[in-house]
């Protein structure tokens, strides 16, 4: 054992490696991404197989195959990724695995960077899979190792669901030395169609067995130490909590100087009924402090009914805890104080501060997506158009002044949403914007559907040759893998031509005139046609010489500011100036200045 300062996601990866991990696959998504990245960084000797898959479904199927062979496998994704992987996972719950398999799904209360506030604990109950819910970095490190053991012992994939604050929290924790790692040698695939081929008869048998096993697991987990109670005999009131909210409860109790009994649920499914019953004994009132769904609250209400207990259960359903969004130390302290009948510690309230500038996230200075959106906007000025967006940095194209995202739903959805709008409104110019990584993840099938079903639309691929939003992961179009191999790039243009898109034009969006002409020309054609705006992510390339606004030529029309919304142009003393520390010299602003006042940048000399 030694101490290291680790991010929660790094601790999870390191714990999995200490547990004998053989194979890890996933698709990037905040707040889960660093788990796989840490495993890859640690994989200097090639003991692991690591891959960014094209999407979560592919990642999970790969891991299932490896686990069939006895490999210990982990699949990483964010909560909405689980929706993509749910088809194979629901069936795999029936088939089971030979090697331990942990499906790491990071939930995002808030949500901070997601489309939904779905709760993987609820998915665990739906899919009938055991679920682990760590509350700290150290606990995540220990718990992932227990998750592998339980998975392998019961031949079932298990869910492991940290939330953002555990994933992205850091702590100095005890980690194992390499000599203490478990070494797992997979025995290989053993052919057995009665085991690995899903058929209705097998599913019926498996379902019966799953329900029996989960009843057994509820008892096993009650005794496992994963659902610990503190001060459980002290008084008639108690708190039941989980995950990061447990630490908020502890901070709240310390601040209030109060010692209520606390039960922490580390395995929300199968719910540890015996552990809960022991905690409920002799209690009149229970406050459930949880994030996302009221999973614990419903379970306790159910247990009280089943066992004729008279305790009142409070939480989200009773309005004591907010129905949506993240808990905070402040919100939990307030709820605990009300529950315990205590006053909040008094604090001086500072006087009203001056109006604070708001800082919504924006496309970076020099981002080629800004140029792509601006080119389409310019080309389609005055024409009835709809612009369907998708998931990635380019969702930020919705911000003023670009204002170029009319819809955004989920990964890859924009292509067929555009198709649907076009079927109802045939006189509208329909555009779908999709990034390169999202294209590979889930827009290819959409493109095939649009071609086959005679859509009339322009598919715009924003190709910056990386997965930028989540921190620049490679994908099939980049020609690099997580095993360090340099491989053939999958060509987006060839894919589109292969599925029957006849017009595919590639253009540099930072060449504004060429880009606008291209949009006008291509969008005028009938059927499905595509434009690939190709220009690398501004964060990944060396910045050029910053632009420069010539004060003698500038007539202060502010078009550069008002049309582009680039953080590299700021107002100082009422006039636009270039912020040299941010400007990448992309040259877009010099192409929109009507007075030729902006020089420097890529067009210099």
């Amino acid at each position: 054992m030694h101490k290291e300062f680790l991010m929660g996601n790094a601790a999870i990866a390191r714990g999995a490696i200490a547990a004998g991990l053989n194979c890890v696959s996933g698709y990037p998504g905040t707040p889960s991404t660093e788990v796989l990245e840490t495993a890859a960084k640690f994989n200097t000797d090639g003991r692991l197989y690591v891959e960014w898959s094209v999407n979560e479904k592919a990642a999970l199927e790969l891991a299932a195959g490896a686990a069939y062979c006895g490999a210990r496998t982990m699949v990483t994704m964010k909560q909405v990724g689980l929706n993509v992987a749910s088809d194979p996972l629901m069936s795999l719950a029936y088939i089971g695995v030979k090697g331990g398999m942990v499906v790491l799904v990071a939930d995002d209360p808030g949500p901070i960077s997601s489309q939904t506030e779905q709760d993987t604990r609820t998915f665990a109950a739906y899919s009938k899979l055991p679920c682990f819910d760590p509350s700290s970095v150290q606990e995540a490190y220990e718990m992932i190792q227990q998750a592998f053991e339980l998975s392998e012992k019961y031949h079932t994939p298990v869910l492991f669901r940290p939330t953002t604050r555990v994933c992205h929290g850091y702590a100095s924790i005890d980690v194992r030395d390499e000599e203490e790692y478990v070494v797992n040698k997979p025995e290989g695939f053993r052919r057995d169609p009665s085991k690995w081929v899903i058929f209705p008869r097998l599913s019926f048998r498996a379902h019966t067995e799953i329900e029996r096993r989960n009843a057994e697991l509820s008892a096993v987990l009650s005794e496992s130490g994963l659902n610990p109670a503190e001060n459980s005999s002290a008084g008639k009131k108690g708190i039941v909590t989980h995950g990061i909210s447990y630490t908020y409860v502890k901070e709240a109790l310390a601040a209030l100087g109060c010692e209520l009994p606390v039960l922490k649920i580390g395995t929300p499914f199968p719910f540890p009924e015996q552990a809960a019953l022991q905690f409920l004994a002799g209690k009149d009132e229970i406050l459930c402090v949880e994030e996302l769904d009221p999973v614990i609250e419903r379970e306790l209400t159910f247990i009280c009914g089943k066992h004729h207990l008279s305790a009142n259960i409070f939480g989200k359903l009773t309005g004591n805890i907010a129905a949506a969004g993240e808990n905070t130390i402040a919100s939990v302290t307030k709820a605990v104080a009300e529950f315990a009948g205590l006053d909040l510690p008094e604090r001086e309230v500072p006087s009203e501060p001056p109006k604070l500038p708001v800082r919504p996230p924006v496309l970076c200075a020099g981002c080629p997506h800004r140029a792509s959106f601006f080119a389409v906007k310019t080309a389609m000025q005055g024409k009835k158009s709809v612009f369907c967006g998708d998931i990635g940095c380019y969702t930020l194209g919705n911000a003023m002044p670009l204002d170029m995202v009319d819809t955004c739903l989920c990964m890859g959805a924009g292509v067929n949403i555009t198709q649907g709008i076009g079927k109802v409104e045939p006189d509208t110019n329909c555009f779908a914007f999709v990034g390169d990584s999202t294209f590979f993840a889930s827009a290819i099938t959409g493109a095939v559907n649009a071609v086959y079903n005679q859509a009339d639309m322009t598919l715009v691929i924003l190709d910056n040759s990386t997965t930028a939003m989540t921190g620049h992961q490679p994908h099939p179009g980049t020609g690099k893998t997580m095993m360090g191999q340099v491989v053939d790039k999958v060509s987006i243009e060839s894919v589109l031509r292969g599925v029957g898109v006849k017009t595919v034009e590639t253009v540099d969006p930072l060449d504004l005139k060429a880009a606008v002409d291209c949009v006008k020309r291509v969008s005028a054609e009938k059927g499905v046609k595509a434009i690939i705006f190709k220009s690398p992510c501004a964060v990944l390339i060396k910045s050029g010489k910053p632009a420069y606004i010539d004060p003698d030529k500038c007539r202060n029309c502010k078009r550069c500011v008002k049309l582009l919304g680039c953080p590299g142009i700021v107002m100082r003393d009422g006039r636009p100036v270039i912020e040299n520390s941010l400007c990448t010299g992309c040259g877009l602003c010099s192409q929109v200045c009507p007075f030729d006042a902006i020089g420097g940048g890529r067009n210099a000399d």
């Binding site: 300062f5 604050r165 850091y170 100095s172 502890k250 901070e251 604070l356």
Partner: protein, 190 residues
């Protein structure tokens, strides 16, 4: 009780590295450390923060309002935004150079940060102003801001270690060619 440190500013100012250096210096001194910071979409030009808790007794990587022993603010408005987290009589180290958000440029507002600094002075007697722009120019790198702010924070005496401890860690963290510049930045204003 742990020492609670809050670092705040705007995405891209080097806050994460500052936080890592404080954590590493604390660990080298054998102390427990927990921290939490902004990651993801909010980093793109948004307000960012890093909570740090050094020493025993912290359950959560974050802390509540009124708990920070020191606020290290890389930008005036961000200092005001996070001020509710500061303890009564806690220390404020603030860079006086304002960063204007795109929304302010669009709205034609002339946010300069001066009104923010005025408010901080009204609220606290324990504000140390750092002219980050001037300091960076004198140190010789626009990237030196985080070390300049960290040096000022260490000299406030609130952090449980000295400038030599931070310097030792910095030398192990940054590329050799940047050690000398970062040393100057850490010791700027001594």
């Amino acid at each position: 009780m742990p020492t609670n440190i809050l670092i705040c500013g705007v995405g891209g100012q080097g806050i994460v590295l500052t936080s890592k250096l404080i954590a590493a210096a604390a660990m080298a001194a054998g102390m427990e450390v927990k921290s939490a910071e902004t990651i993801g979409m909010a980093q793109k030009g948004g307000s960012v923060f890093s909570f740090l808790r050094v020493g025993d007794g912290a359950y959560c990587p974050m802390f509540g309002e009124g708990c920070a022993d020191i606020l290290i603010a890389f930008e005036p408005a961000e200092a005001v935004r996070m001020l509710p987290y500061l303890k009564k009589d806690g220390s404020i180290i603030v860079n006086t150079h304002a960063i204007m958000p795109v929304t302010a440029a669009l709205g034609g507002s002339d946010y300069t940060g001066k009104e923010m600094l005025g408010y901080l002075a009204e609220q606290s007697d324990n504000v140390e102003l750092v002219d980050g722009e001037k300091a960076c120019a004198e140190v010789g790198s626009p990237r030196a801001l985080n070390m300049i702010m960290l040096g000022a924070a260490v000299r406030s005496g609130v952090l449980p270690f000295g400038i030599e401890d931070v310097e030792d860690i910095m030398k192990k963290t940054v590329k050799p060619q940047f050690v000398e510049m970062n040393s100057r930045a850490l010791r700027y204003g001594e």
